[in-house]
């Protein structure tokens, strides 16, 4: 098999806070092949954003990447000199941030902040940069782009800011886009248009993508493979159809079971209750020993409290970390 475009191995990002060490990302592995879309889903607070920031060395203090490798086209980004990283970041690998409101600079107009990125990376004139920015804003469904260029972030709606963030990531035709919840603030018709655009860029330019989302409809449509995270670790990775039709890890199953159904009538008679996963997410200052999911897991046995399950291939291309599904583990 060909080398993956990006491979993340045993990534560890810890926050050194006054209360102790928050092990937000604690041994995460995944890989993205050329032209492929990898979906990352998982619990809120499970480390999806922190992992993606860590790939580009953008984790804010008090966090530090304390271990692992991030190999992009053969080079480890974690040990690359800052200057060399600067030519990759924003150009070869671009990021769509989860919070468009804070990733856009409030004191610059939309046009000048996007234009600057192009002028920094590419040998082009101001007018060419402006034309490219306008064409990208049009592609992400911003109308009257020439007038919108002169507006400031606070004058745009939530979804417009998000689309500006997507346009910014696509400016330099990156070979990999890390998209953190890129369509949460969009209605489904504009979302469909953005997903079409991303699918088209992938087809035409072979762009690969890591797509972090809570929207199961979006991953089902976009992802070739899916990685599921819980409490700073990966539970399961497989192709999309397997995750949806034959999930193995108990957390993946519980997550899929709590999906609300659009074809469901909820009113009339007694109000229904949506299914949820019982219990609470672990405190990452002091995560449970053994499997981090064991306190909430319907399948847990005594060993789950003691043995840390490792990602193990149970079928070709399907890895799971659960000792009840045959994963290997290390005893505490």
């Amino acid at each position: 098999m060909a080398e993956p475009l990006l491979s993340v191995e045993d990534l560890k990002v810890h926050f050194f806070t006054r209360d102790g060490v928050v092990r937000a990302v604690d041994g995460v592995d995944f890989a993205v092949n050329r032209g492929e879309t990898l979906g990352i889903v998982g619990e809120s607070g499970s480390g999806k954003t922190v992992s993606s920031l860590a790939l580009l060395r953008l984790v804010p203090p008090p966090a530090r990447t304390v271990g692992g490798r991030v190999v992009f086209e053969g080079t480890d980004l974690l040990t690359l000199p800052t200057k060399a990283l600067g030519t990759i970041r924003g150009r070869r690998i671009a990021m769509v941030f989860q919070n468009p409101a804070t990733s856009l600079n409030p004191i610059y107009s939309i046009g000048s902040q996007l234009g600057e990125i192009l002028l920094w990376h590419e040998p082009i004139t101001r007018a060419e940069a402006e034309a490219r920015v306008i064409s990208l804003l049009t592609l992400v469904g911003i109308t009257d782009p020439a007038a919108r260029l002169r507006q400031y972030p606070h004058e745009l709606s939530g979804g417009m800011k998000q689309r500006v963030g997507i346009a910014r990531a696509l400016l330099c035709n990156p070979s990999l886009v890390l998209a953190d919840e890129p369509t949460t603030a969009l209605d489904v018709t504009i979302q469909a248009q953005i997903l079409d655009l991303l699918a088209d860029l992938r087809r035409r330019l072979g762009m690969a993508m890591v797509l972090v989302t809570h929207d199961m409809g979006v991953v089902a449509r976009m992802a070739d493979r899916i990685t599921v995270m819980y409490a700073g670790r990966v539970c399961e990775t497989a192709d999309a159809a397997t995750i949806f039709r034959a999930p193995q890890h108990p957390y993946t199953r519980a997550l899929l079971d709590s999906m609300p159904r659009i074809d469901h009538r909820y009113t009339g008679g007694a109000r229904q209750v949506l299914p949820t996963i019982p219990g609470r997410p672990p405190n990452l200052l002091d995560p449970p020993a053994g499997c981090r999911f064991h306190p909430r897991c319907p399948d847990a046995i005594a060993d789950c409290r003691r043995i840390l399950p490792l990602e193990t291939e149970i079928a070709p291309g399907h890895t799971v970390s659960c000792i009840r599904r045959g994963s290997q583990g290390i005893a505490a």
Binding site: D19, V41, G42, E43, S44, G45, T49, P60, N99, A101, G141, T143, D144, A147, R150, Q151, E155, L156, S157, G158, G159, Q162, R163, E181, T184, A185, L186, D187, V188, T189, I190, Q191, A192, L195, H214, D215, M216, G217, A220, R221, A241, F244, L255, S258, M259, P260, R261, I262, H264, R265, Y266, T267, G268, R271, V273, L274, T276, R280, P281, N283
Partner: protein
């Protein structure tokens, strides 16, 4: 019929924009973010508000709360026109309204004070509105955190120490702190995983049943709209184009925009065939709204009249109103 808790009449909010052309001449244009919108919500009901990104949902909410001054129209809350109250200087009356009319902001990043711990953020509404019950504050804060699935120790943390979804839950907890009568929720669950999302939605429904709360629920997540709403309103380019009881809207949508919207919901099943009604044409601009029906350039059922005359919102069925010359 009981009196509506919230009654919005002919509400408008227009923003000026400066267009600069090639010769640097300035021409003032206008964004009609919200244009002549009317609806009401009965006590104990939930109105879901949906529509295209940028169609004016957040601006409607902000105008109701007087966080932006409405350009025109009235907002009656519990029988009282609150626009003049906010124009006036009676702080006490304004405070009383603010207490019973709470807002969960679309953007949890901007709405939390970065210099306050979560505990301080939750204490603030208690300090303002329940000043005489200081001894009960701490217990209340613990309960609020627990309700939204956070831990008591989170009270000591700052917003930047939280993930996107965790911050969103703090926003919900803050709005619930003083038990409002009407809660306006702008995308309250968009950054949450489906299990936590279900937990918050269940909580909202339970509070509604227990305390008779009334909600205006703004969201792009149509399955949660379907779950929580009793009625749904659809906006398009600043206009209210359809409003109906929830089951009517999902079963027999009348406006062609609503139909396209419902057909575009992505199905959580890889390989599922798409039944999406692809919208033709460009998304029109709020700066340059088309004449007649704002949707006509993209509508497959448009008649000649649609580009000339703006269709009024008229009755279409029981509780169902619609602005379309050629409804489905």
């Amino acid at each position: 019929m009981t009196e509506a808790l919230l009654e919005v009449r002919n509400l408008s909010k227009h923003y000026p924009v400066l267009k600069r052309g090639i010769l640097l001449q300035r021409k003032a244009a206008e964004i009609r973010a919200v244009d002549d919108v009317s609806f009401s919500i009965q006590p104990g009901e939930t109105l879901g508000l949906v529509g295209e990104s940028g169609c004016g949902k957040t601006t409607t909410a902000r105008a109701i709360l007087n966080l932006v001054t409405p350009s025109a129209g009235s907002v009656r809350f519990a029988g009282q026109d609150i626009v003049p109250v906010f124009r006036g200087s009676d702080r006490r009356a304004q405070l009383a309204i603010r207490r019973s009319l709470q807002y969960v902001f679309q953007d949890p990043y901007l709405s939390l004070n970065p210099r306050w711990t979560i505990g301080e953020t939750l204490r603030e509404p208690l300090r303002v509105h329940l000043a005489d019950q200081q001894s009960a504050w701490q217990a209340r804060i613990d309960t609020l955190l627990e309700m939204v699935g956070l831990e008591p120790h989170h009270a000591w943390r700052y917003p930047h120490e939280f993930s996107g979804g965790q911050r969103q839950r703090v926003g919900v907890a803050r709005a619930l702190a003083v038990e409002p009568r009407l809660l306006i929720l702008d995308e309250p669950v968009s950054s949450l995983d489906i299990s936590v999302r279900a937990q918050i939605l269940n909580l909202l429904v339970e509070l509604q049943d227990r305390l008779g709360l009334t909600y205006l629920y703004i969201s792009h997540d149509l399955s949660s709209v379907r779950f929580i709403s009793t009625h749904v309103a659809v906006m398009y380019l600043g206009k209210l184009v359809e409003i109906a009881p929830v089951d009517t809207l999902f079963a027999t949508p009348g406006h062609h925009y609503t139909r396209a919207l419902l057909s575009a919901i992505p199905v959580p099943d890889p390989g599922a065939a798409s039944t999406r009604i692809a919208l033709q044409g460009e998304v029109p601009s709020a700066m340059n709204r088309p004449p007649g029906c704002p949707f006509h350039p993209r509508c497959a059922a448009a008649l000649p009249v649609c580009s000339r005359e703006e269709p009024p919102l008229t009755a279409f069925g029981p509780g169902h109103r619609l602005a379309c010359h050629n409804p489905a």
